[in-house]
Amino acid sequence: MAEEDNTVREPLDLIRLSLDEKVYVKLKGERELRGKLHAYDQHLNIILGDVEETVTTVEIDEETFEEIIKTNKRMVPYLFVRGDGVILVSPPLRS
């Protein structure tokens, strides 16, 4: 019986150690999520709770050609995230 050990032997161990912790997830399409990690699998399909989604969009001002960066935020109670959109997962900073 494997004990619940705290060593990171393979990359997914890092995710395992973040269960029930707040994590940051970077997704394709300039999307970011912050929420509590409740479930994941080897594809990085994920269930998060109390999720804040941030979507960043860049628009070009038609006159000045300046980049206007907009961020849209929303809260979702529970969210299933399909793994193929995941770029990066980071546990909270343990300080």
């Binding site: 494997a2 619940e4 997914l12 395992r16 269960l19 029930d20 409740h38 479930a39 994941y40 699998d41 080897q42 399909n45 269930i47 709770g49 979702v76 109670p77 529970y78 969210l79 299933f80 995230v81 399909r82 193929d84 959109g85």
Partner: protein, 93 residues
């Protein structure tokens, strides 16, 4: 298998499926398969003005690979059960 099993417990519940093309569909989960393909009944599109061609659609099949998110009904999320299932999956898989 974790998420397949979990989604099976949501059959009959109302979920919102958000697709990679930004279309968001709310409907009753009719069924799910191992690829996380999803069948929804009595659907409505969240932003109907933008997608009027969907107005007459009642039921649909969504290929798993085009799903970005599924918003889950808060009452159907058993956090402890998910933690246990995830740890079991991490050990076995």
């Amino acid at each position: 298998m974790l998420f397949y099993s979990y989604f099976k417990t949501l059959v009959g519940k109302e979920v919102t499926v958000e697709l990679k093309n930004d279309l968001a569909i709310t409907g009753t989960l009719h069924s799910v398969d191992q690829y996380l393909n999803i069948k929804l009944n009595s659907i409505r599109v969240v932003n109907e003005q933008k997608y009027p061609h969907m107005l007459s659609v009642r039921n649909c099949f969504v290929r798993g690979s085009v799903v970005r998110y599924v918003q889950l009904p808060p009452g159907s999320v058993d956090v402890e059960l998910l933690h246990d299932a995830t740890r079991r999956e991490a050990r076995g898989g």
